[in-house]
Each structure stands twice: as structure tokens, then as C-alpha cells.
Symmetry: C2
Subunit: 357 residues, 2 copies
């Protein structure tokens, strides 16, 4: 937390702050910023490491002191539009995204950082809501936000609010997930329906004049990943299927391991509403972003245990085996369609939706 100071963090509370909008002074390193941090961020993220208010958080390394343990480290920037959408907001997304990047590597999240860039004039009650949402997501994931930074830019120099989180975690000795480890015969699992986040954002932007019950799948996956690793310790790798969707992560895995990945279309779970949105726009649900959907590559002999473990978890009730790893076509992903044909499932050039996360 760079140059963030507060003489009495305990005095803050989450009630709507007295100032109604963000001013340039809130990012200036002086009294206004100190008060913003003390009134809004510190009480929400309350934890001993953050309360120290030095330029950096200092943490007990916990499991890192165990011989053979490794430190996992990741970051993600969030620029999603709109900031609030069914099933979440940019704050929930910023916490879940970074927790999930740690989790799919087999890491137990240890702590998060949070850096915000706020546009002058931003509504402080909306900001407080987004910060409360970060707190709730962090609490669910069992992780603390221990350090942060606040920058304010002039009206027109940013689109409301951007949040960048980083996360550190501990990878236990013996856990070594890697995309390059996928082998012919392995099963390809997903923990639930694809494309909910992408389709929700699309509908939330209002360009389609559609009403759906769709919600983003935004959620922390660390519990689900721990359940997978207990049930299927031979798991090769897992990925959080965000931008570019399941197609992007499977192409990545096929490339890294120099294997083919063959999906069976009728086993790929997609909600009817997502399928409807995709049909209207000519999109493929396998290209849509997810924010709480993992893909795992599991040896065939552990696939049943993995599937059962996911189905027993609240975030894995819709888990399916959607395909398998093959020798060929090397570096490619194919989809056997319901009509019996087979087509190449390529990486999109870009996400069909900008600013999806």
C-alpha cells in the first residue's frame, strides 16, 4: 500500500461516505486519500496485515516453509463493462479471477493485492458496493486482501473503474500441474455449463434487447480445485476458461502437450439461454468467456473419481466429461458434432466481446 496512511483505521465504516463522488484529491497521497482509504477500503478488507499500513504487507509464509513447497504468483486486470451485472460486479470478478488463476495451478491462495484506477466523478456509493463485493468474495475464498493502491485520473481518462488484483499462494510439495503433461487417453472435464459469463455481459449491455434469467458464473474455484486434487491426484492440469473460452484453453493445452483434443458436442453443457444468445449472434459457446468454470485434464483411471468429486461440490453440480486427449491431430482441438461430422475448434482471433472481464 504505497503512501497510504491512516491514523485511525478503526474509525471507518462501510456506510455511504460523506463525499458523493471521487475527486482528483482522492488519489493525491494526502488527507483526502488517507480518509478514503480509512473510511472505505480498510474496514471492508479488515485484516491484521493490512492494518499495519506499511508500504508493503508482511505475511507469515505458512506452508512455504515446508521443504519442496513453491510460491505461486499471478495478476489480472479487470476492465469489464458494465461494472455491475447479473451474478456479480467488477469487484467480485477481480477477486475470483485471481483466486482462480492460483487455484487452477494447484495453489492454495495466501493473500491478494488490490490496485484501483478510478475516474474523477465516480460515485462513492457504487465504489463502496464494489468494495463490499470484493470483501464477500475474498471471505468465501478464505483469502485476505492485504495491500492496495488507489489512483485517480481526470474525467474522461478512464472508463469509471479499473481494478488490478495480484495473488500469492502456496503449492504443496508434489503438486505439479502442467499443460504439457496431458497424455493421450486423458479425460477432459468441465465443472458446469459454458459461456454464462460472456452471454450475461452481452445481454447486460442491452444491445440485444433480450431479457434472460442468465447470471455470470463468477465464483471462486479454490474449493473445487482442492476437491479435484484430493480425488484425482494424478490430474495433469486445469485452466480457468476466461477470455477465449474453453476453446482457447484447450488449444493451449493441445499445443503445450503436442496432443490432439477431441470433444463430443452433445456432451458439452450449455444453457438454453446461452445457446439462444449464441445463435442470434453467430457465436460459439466454446469461445465465450467464463469466470467460474474450470477445465481439467485427468488420467482416464481417475476420471470417474474426479467427476464424482466435482458433482459433490456446490460449484460442480453440472460437471461433465466433454472429450478426451488423443495422439492426433497434434496441437489441434476437434469437435464431433451432433450430426456426426467433425470440425476444427480453433482459437478465436480475439474474444468476440471486448472488455468481458
Amino acid at each position: 500500500m504505497s503512501t497510504v496512511i491512516a491514523t485511525d483505521p478503526g474509525a471507518g465504516h462501510l456506510a455511504p461516505p460523506a463525499h458523493r463522488t471521487i475527486t482528483m484529491a482522492h488519489g493525491g497521497g494526502g488527507r483526502a486519500m488517507r480518509d478514503l482509504v480509512a473510511d472505505l477500503f480498510l474496514p471492508a478488507f479488515d485484516n491484521p496485515a493490512l492494518a499495519v499500513l506499511e508500504d508493503q504487507a508482511q505475511l507469515d509464509p505458512g506452508g512455504l516453509a515446508v521443504p519442496g513447497a513453491r510460491l505461486a504468483f499471478t495478476t489480472d486486470g479487470f476492465v469489464v463493462r458494465p461494472l455491475v451485472f447479473p451474478g456479480g460486479d467488477i469487484g467480485k470478478l477481480a477477486v475470483c479471477g485471481t483466486v482462480n488463476d492460483l487455484a487452477v495451478g494447484g495453489a492454495t491462495p495466501l493473500a491478494l493485492s488490490c490496485a484501483v484506477v478510478i475516474e474523477e466523478g465516480f460515485d462513492l456509493v457504487l465504489l463502496a458496493g464494489i468494495v463490499a463485493s470484493m470483501r464477500a468474495a475474498a471471505a468465501e475464498a478464505g483469502v485476505s486482501i492485504v495491500t492496495g493502491d488507489t489512483k485517480v485520473v481526470e474525467r474522461g481518462a478512464a472508463d469509471g473503474l479499473f481494478i488490478t488484483t495480484a495473488g500469492v499462494g502456496v503449492v504443496a510439495p508434489g503438486v505439479a500441474l502442467s499443460a504439457a503433461a496431458a497424455r493421450p487417453g486423458d479425460a477432459v472435464l468441465v465443472n458446469g455449463p459454458l459461456g454464462d459469463h460472456g452471454a450475461t455481459i452481452l445481454v447486460a449491455r442491452g444491445d440485444l434487447a433480450l431479457e434472460t434469467e442468465l447470471q455470470s458464473d463468477c465464483r471462486p474455484l479454490n474449493g473445487l480445485m482442492q476437491a479435484l486434487l484430493r480425488a484425482a491426484p494424478g490430474t495433469r492440469c486445469a485452466r480457468d476458461a476466461t477470455r477465449g473460452g474453453v476453446a482457447a484453453v484447450l488449444n493451449e493445452i493441445a499445443g503445450s502437450a503436442s496432443v490432439g483434443i477431441r470433444l463430443v458436442e452433445e456432451t458439452v453443457p450449455v444453457r438454453p439461454a446461452v445457446r439462444g444468445v449464441c445463435e442470434i449472434l453467430g457465436l460459439d459457446p466454446l469461445h465465450l468467456a467464463n469466470e467460474g468454470t474450470a477445465v481439467a485434464i485427468v488420467p482416464a483411471d481417475e476420471a470417474g473419481a474426479a467427476l464424482a468429486a466435482w458433482r459433490a461440490h456446490p460449484y460442480g453440480a453440472g460437471a461433465r466429461i466433454i472429450g478426451s486427449v488423443a495422439e492426433a491431430p497434434r496441437g489441434r482441438v476437434t469437435l464431433r458434432t451432433s450430426l456426426g461430422g467433425e470440425r476444427l475448434l480453433d482459437l478465436p482471433l480475439g474474444d468476440p466481446l471486448p472488455r468481458i472481464c
Copy 2:
């Protein structure tokens, strides 16, 4: 590195990329983003942890396995305008700022992350230059950039480029710097002239129609901090005097330790050109931002050794003792002026300059 994929990172190079500007596709998670990362970021930040291209970097915990060691974690967002200025650019700033936040806590930097938000239409040659600058600063600090994220927003939704870095480091057993530890009698040290960064940015914006030889002091302070801790192991605390300047960090320390801090104006090092800029604008050099200037609070009996250690370091040649800690006035900073008077040195409401870092 979230959903960043590259089948052949070795194929990249730092030559100006084929595309001339950033497009929305460069942030979409597909082929365009993969190519941008492979051609521009990976070769610049080249290191084994980054080359793995999983969703998170995994690192040997190094000194964290030593009993009593702690993990330091910090983040900073950078929105400086202009992006390039005498003595540095946003890339150098983003690396040095996070290295310095770790260093002033007594931590040895272990690794950095880098998340960028880029405006559509941004010049790719300029981006490559900024990335090269990050590489150079990281090399100087002896730290690797091991994970990252790339987001692109539409033209007008951001001002060119924002960079958020986070950093992890190791605090050796026995090192426990804390602002609350300052005690009456301690000396207040700075490693060189104040306000160079703030004044340089002000002049670089061109509003003053001034020409100066001023350069930002932007530089990594981890070497300087290690030298201080060796020479003066009783050091109470140190701070990187960024937004709000030396006045802000000293007010913070005075508040945390419930002590007074008394500065002697004629001992405060300020370059004539910085003093000139401040006189024109009615600013106080003690309120101007620095990006490579540390304040340290050191027990009186170690102050001589600390000063000598800093003066022997390339980034401490201009080090001075600028004041001392006193019983009173509690929580306040005062300045004895050259004319013999004494005035309160308050925290500014905000930085006099928005977007200084």
C-alpha cells in the same frame, strides 16, 4: 498470466512488431493477444518462471523457507502523464515503485507481476520501448517479472497506458521495520535531493514553458536499503517518499509513533532548479513526489554509520540528515526555517500534481 498462451515463445524478439498500433483484438484472449505477448512481453521479460506460461508463476520460495522469514507483498498502479519523461518512463516507474515499496520494508525483492491496460490505437513501438525500460529496471534491481496480464479498452476509455505492478519479497528473520518504532532522539535521513520527480513531470507537461536539466530520480532502492540495514541494523523504518512527498511520509511516521519530527530547512537538499519550479508555483519541495528517494529513521548512535553507508552508494551521494525525532509536538512535523522561525509541515490535502506516478 491469465489465458496468455504462446506455442513458441522463443520465436519472439524485441524488434518493432509488425502491427503498428494496438487493436481491441490484442486484448481478447485469442491469437492476436498470444502473438503480442509472444513477440513483445515474453522476450523482454525472459525468465524461466514466465516461460512456463501457466495461469500463475511458480517460484522457489528461496529465503522464505528459513524459519522466521516473512513474505512481503505490495502493489502499485501507475497512471503517470506524460508516459515518457526525462530520466524515465511509466515502465521504469512501475518497476522501481514496486521494488522500492518492498525495499523500504527491509524485503529483498523476489519477483514482480505486470498488468497493463492499453487504449486501442496505442503505438506499438512506444509500447516496446516502455517494456524494454521495464526490463532494464528489473535487471538493475535483480528481480524478474514472472507473470502478467494484458487488457485493451476502446479508444477514449483509458489515457494511453496504465501499468499495475505487484511484487513479492522476503524479509529476513530479525528485520522488523515499522513506522511505530521511531523514538525521540532518532535521526531523519534522506538519500538525496527532494522533489526531482515531481518537478520533472511538471516541466515535462510543458505548462510552464521552462527548460531545465532536471531528471526524475526514478531508480530502484533495494541496494541502498540493504546497505543501510547492514550499516545501521537498528534502523527503525524507511519510506519511499512518493505522492505527498517527504512531508506525507514524515507525518505518517509522526502519527504512527506518536512523536514529533523536527526538520531543519537549511539541511534539506533541494536542487536549485526544483526550488525555482516550486517558487514559480508556490509549491513546497517537501510536498513534491520522489521516485527514488527514501527517508529513514535511524537511532542516533547509528546515524553516522547510516549516512556513510548511503554516501558510499551511487544512489546516496547526496544523503543528508535533515532533522530528528522529538517527544513533541506529538503526531506533527515541524520545520525550522532558515530565518529562525518554526512552522508546521502539514500533509497536503492531495498531491499538488495529479497523475505524478
